[in-house]
């Protein structure tokens, strides 16, 4: 069985985001493999270790820098990589088209991806890929079983768990609680350097969306501290809510 994992390179989750000329300033920001995709990579490698998967291929759409994300996945244990060269400005639609093209050429049995990217948080790409390829799709899974050409996966449903069965090929997107991604060993990193990575051009697709503006969330205001006896404190707080914060009853 051939498994394809889609990975995206994102900003480090702790990175300090700043805007410059209305755009996100990326100087000094560390780029990482999207943590949700990392879980998908781990899931794929575990399938390989169990003997279910024969080959694990990582696919990333993005600029040349995205090669680092592919190398990380290879260091974790994936077999080879494909970098679909695409501008970072590509939207979810264009990205899904580009990835689907590359996936089609590989003809995998299973496509894994994180259910959301840590940067834009749009949660669209895996679902769009399933749509474009016409494959069944299970979203936000926390466990996965493969037997007799079928995938059985549990996913989070409101207040419970949903178990779904689909035929392969299928597109499966992972929740972070599925597994704990491994830390690549030096052995893995050394081997990764020798693993093949193909670079292909992205299939042409126009963006369907246009970003109008970026803005940062308002910075946190310092709280106030009232150090009084409870009755006095309560009165002061009420006053503050009414006159300073100006919270009006509806």
């Amino acid at each position: 069985m051939k498994v394809i994992v889609c990975v995206k390179q994102t900003f480090d989750t702790e990175a300090k985001i700043e805007l410059k000329d209305g755009k996100i300033a990326d100087a000094g920001i560390n780029l990482i493999i999207n943590p949700y995709d990392e879980v998908a990579v781990e899931g794929a490698i575990q399938l390989k270790e169990k003997g279910v998967a024969k080959e694990v291929v990582v696919v990333a759409a993005g600029p040349d820098k995205a090669m680092d994300a592919i190398r990380t996945a290879l260091a974790m244990g994936a077999d080879r990589g494909i970098l679909v060269q695409q501008d970072v400005a590509a939207d979810e639609y264009a990205r899904a088209v580009a990835l689907s093209e590359a996936i089609k050429a590989e003809g995998p049995d299973l496509i894994l991806a994180g259910h959301v990217a840590a940067d834009d948080g749009s949660s669209q790409v895996p679902t769009r890929i399933a749509e474009i390829l016409g494959y069944p799709h299970i979203n936000v899974i926390t466990s996965l079983d493969i037997a007799d050409g079928k995938v059985t996966a549990s996913s989070e449903a409101d207040g419970g768990t949903q178990v779904t069965e689909v035929a392969i090929p299928a597109v499966i997107s992972s929740q972070v609680s599925w597994n704990e991604p491994r830390y690549p060993s030096m052995k893995g990193i050394m081997q990764a350097k020798k693993k093949p990575v193909a670079t292909v051009a992205a299939a042409a697709a126009e963006n369907k969306t246009k970003i109008l503006e970026f803005s940062l969330p308002p910075s946190k205001q310092a709280g106030i501290k009232i150090e009084e006896e409870p009755d006095v404190a309560a009165a002061q707080l009420a006053d503050w809510i009414k006159n300073t914060a100006k919270v009006e009853p509806k």
Partner: protein, 720 residues
């Protein structure tokens, strides 16, 4: 002289050392003695051959003179052994006694071979008296050692084997038969002596009272014996005594007695440097990482296995062992590895031979490879030591501090961690998280690196700090805040106290802010050498960019790393821990206490300031200036008990073992025992661990945990 021997002569005209009299064919001994010597040499070679199986690189042939001195001091002065008051001194007595007795035997042999005149007169009396008394001390030593091992049974000797008893018996028999011989000889001499003028010393061999005071007592024990019986007993016992003594020599390489040789080697080949982990050179080009198979250790590490005396001093002081963990430096590390090495050695030796002959004949060694495979079936890390034990260690250095033969436990544990992390990729998930955090954000907490200097604003000290990337002012000392000051809310206060103290004392400091990185201690000690070298390289680059010469470090882990480990990567600076600086400022009168703090406190020595760097006095003197009454806890200074956070364990979960508390809770209980008002420490990790510990007790509300810097700031400025 019918049998070629002299009879006893009773008293000699002048006092004289009697060698071999009354024993037929006594001279044979000087030829027979080559048998044990040959056996010894053969056995020794067999053991040393095993040391040569170590493939790892290490250089212990530098600084030859220091090594010779080290060998001499620690072997002959027993300087390290006597650190354990009773057992150590008894061992030393036995050792010195044996040494003198062996020297006396050597003089006798030399006398035989070279025909030196016998030792006579007062020289004899003095010489003999010393030997006699040393023999007695050795006898006392071995008997007390027997008493300790078999009657007192301290916990540290929990792996007593039959061999231990046999060796004690052997030594005891050699000493006692020696005194019996001396007693019998003197008894016969007394019988032979002309009676009469008792004022003459020669009469009745009276000089032996002074020359052989102990032998004299033994002579009295035999006073009932007839002359003939005494002579025959003497002859038989003499051969017996010699046989046992030769047995001793021959047994050295084959028994625990081998520690005499291996231990002395360890004194010469010990690590002479400061406390640092071993450097991995050219890590970019390395093809394996750490040690997976025992033969990948260096020869010194294998020698260590032989040198271990099973004295259990390491075990006795190990926080992991004392809280019921799998790790026991004596057993799980050294003795298990030793057994494994000896099981595998025959195959390794064969493989080496086969490889050599293959090189000559051009044929590949096939058969041996199978044997090796069998031995290799046992995994060093997973079966012999176990990964659990490898992760248990807090790098507290208690084992290495107290080991009488300078065995290096931590480097061995680190090599195995290196293999687990960098080669097998097998590590606790919390370690993974810490690595990822240090990799991406240069601190183990994982807070965004761009926020590294935000604590200045938070603590309201931005305007009094020379933040080099922004202000770029001149400075004398670099203030290396470290990750804890930067990101741990509690420890930011300590950073503030220090900045304010240094400013008050007029010390010029600069701070790197976001151009400072994690020191890498946790990464290195958790086995991620690659990450350590990356972080250290980044720091060194920053330091050099700003022309840093002197550094004040807040965290003892950072202190140890910058001071002792950065030189391995070319980072040479004058590195101080802040307690050293504060003590000096107080001494120079630059900081004056205005409001003494009259609290009863206990002080916790962090391992990296204490055992790793020997700083015990400065923090205490700072505290004393503050006016506190410091109550020393039972385990302090060299014997300080770890808080559990060292060796990167700060980032790993610790589960309490059945019937034990966790390490930090154990330490907290010790610190709370004298009922202090506060507990004071000097390290962010200790502060965290002990604060957590205190919270879990019923003193959680009343006892506060502070850092030395905070206590001083309070005493100087009345605020905290």
């Amino acid at each position: 002289m019918a049998f070629g021997f002299e009879p006893f002569e009773g008293a000699y005209e002048v006092a004289e050392r009697v060698v071999g009299a009354n024993v037929p064919y006594e001279w044979l001994i000087y030829f027979i003695m080559f048998i044990p010597i040959v056996v010894f040499l053969y056995g020794a070679w067999k053991r040393i051959e095993i040391w040569t199986l170590g493939e790892g690189k290490i250089n212990r042939f530098d600084k030859i003179w220091v090594r010779v001195m080290s060998w001499f001091t620690f072997s002959f002065a027993q300087a390290r052994v006597i650190r354990k008051p009773l057992a150590g001194w008894m061992h030393a007595l036995m050792f010195w006694g044996f040494l003198v007795l062996a020297a006396a035997a050597g003089v006798d042999a030399a006398h035989y071979w070279t025909g030196w005149p016998p030792i006579i007169g007062n020289a004899y009396v003095v010489f003999s008296c010393i030997v006699d008394i040393m023999g007695l001390l050795a006898l006392v030593g071995i008997m007390v050692l027997f008493y300790i091992r078999y009657i007192m049974k301290p916990e540290r000797l929990n792996d007593t084997k039959a061999e231990d008893g046999w060796m004690i018996l052997l030594i005891f028999v050699i000493l006692v038969t020696g005194f019996f011989l001396e007693g019998l000889r003197i008894h016969v001499q007394i019988l032979l002596a002309p009676t009469g003028d008792t004022s003459h010393l020669a009469v009745a061999a009276d000089y032996e009272r002074f020359a052989s005071p102990v032998g004299w007592i033994f002579a009295k024990l035999f006073s009932w014996m007839s002359m003939g019986a005494a002579e025959w007993s003497h002859r038989i016992l003499w051969w017996f005594h010699m046989a046992v003594a030769f047995l001793f020599i021959a047994l050295v390489p084959f028994t625990k007695l081998w520690h005499i040789v291996a231990g002395m080697c360890n004194y010469a080949f010990r690590d002479l440097g400061p406390s640092a982990l071993r450097m991995v050179d050219n890590i970019e080009e390395a093809e394996t990482f750490g040690v997976e198979r025992i033969e990948e250790f260096s020869w010194k590490d294998i020698l260590d296995l032989d040198a271990c005396t099973r004295c259990g001093r390491c075990q006795e002081n190990c926080p992991a062992y004392n809280t019921g963990k799998k790790l026991n430096p004596k057993i799980t590390i050294i003795q298990n590895m030793k057994a494994h090495m000896y099981a595998k050695a025959p195959y390794l030796l064969e493989a080496r031979k086969a490889a050599l002959s293959a090189r000559e004949t051009g044929e590949a060694p096939v058969a041996v490879a199978e044997g090796i495979a069998v031995a290799a079936d046992t995994s060093l890390i997973y079966d012999v030591v176990t990964a659990e034990a490898v992760w248990d260690c807090t790098n507290c250095r208690a084992c290495m501090e107290h080991c009488p033969v300078f065995i290096e436990h931590i480097p061995k544990i680190t090599e195995m961690r290196r293999n687990l992390v960098m080669w097998q990729g097998d590590m606790p998930s919390e370690a993974q998280a810490a690595f990822t955090n240090m990799e991406r954000n240069y601190n183990p907490w994982g807070v965004g690196w761009a926020l590294r200097s935000d604590w200045l604003e938070e603590r309201g000290i931005r305007d009094i700090v020379n933040l080099l990337p922004e202000d770029g002012g001149d400075f004398e000392y670099l203030f290396y805040a470290g990750c804890a000051v930067s990101f741990d809310d509690r420890y930011k206060r300590v950073g503030e106290a220090l900045i304010r103290l240094l400013r008050k004392a007029g010390v010029s400091v600069g701070y790197l802010g976001t151009e400072e990185y994690c020191c890498g201690d946790s990464a290195r000690r958790l086995g991620n050498e690659y990450l350590f070298q990356t972080l250290a390289g980044q720091n060194i680059e920053s330091f050099n960019n700003y022309g840093v010469k002197k550094i004040i470090v807040v965290c003892p882990h950072g202190y140890n790393t910058l001071k002792n480990e950065y030189p391995q990567l070319g980072g040479q600076y004058e590195v101080y821990h802040y307690t050293e600086i504060l003590a000096e400022l107080i001494e120079k009168g630059k900081l004056q206490v205005t409001t003494p703090i009259n609290s009863r406190i206990t002080y916790h020595d962090s391992c990296f300031l204490g055992r790793h760097n020997g700083i015990y006095q400065q923090p205490r003197s700072v505290l004393k200036t503050c006016g506190v009454s410091l109550v020393e806890v039972e385990k302090s200074k060299e014997f300080g008990f770890c808080c559990g956070a060292g060796g990167g364990r700060m980032w790993l979960e610790e589960e309490a073992a059945e019937g034990h508390k966790r390490i930090n809770d154990t330490r907290t209980a010790q610190l709370l025992a004298p009922e202090p008002k506060m507990i004071v420490t000097n390290c962010p990790f200790c502060l965290t661990m002990i604060s957590d510990g205190v919270k879990g007790t019923d003193q959680g509300e009343t006892v506060k945990v502070f850092d030395v810097a905070e206590v001083l700031w309070k005493a100087v400025e009345q605020t905290i």
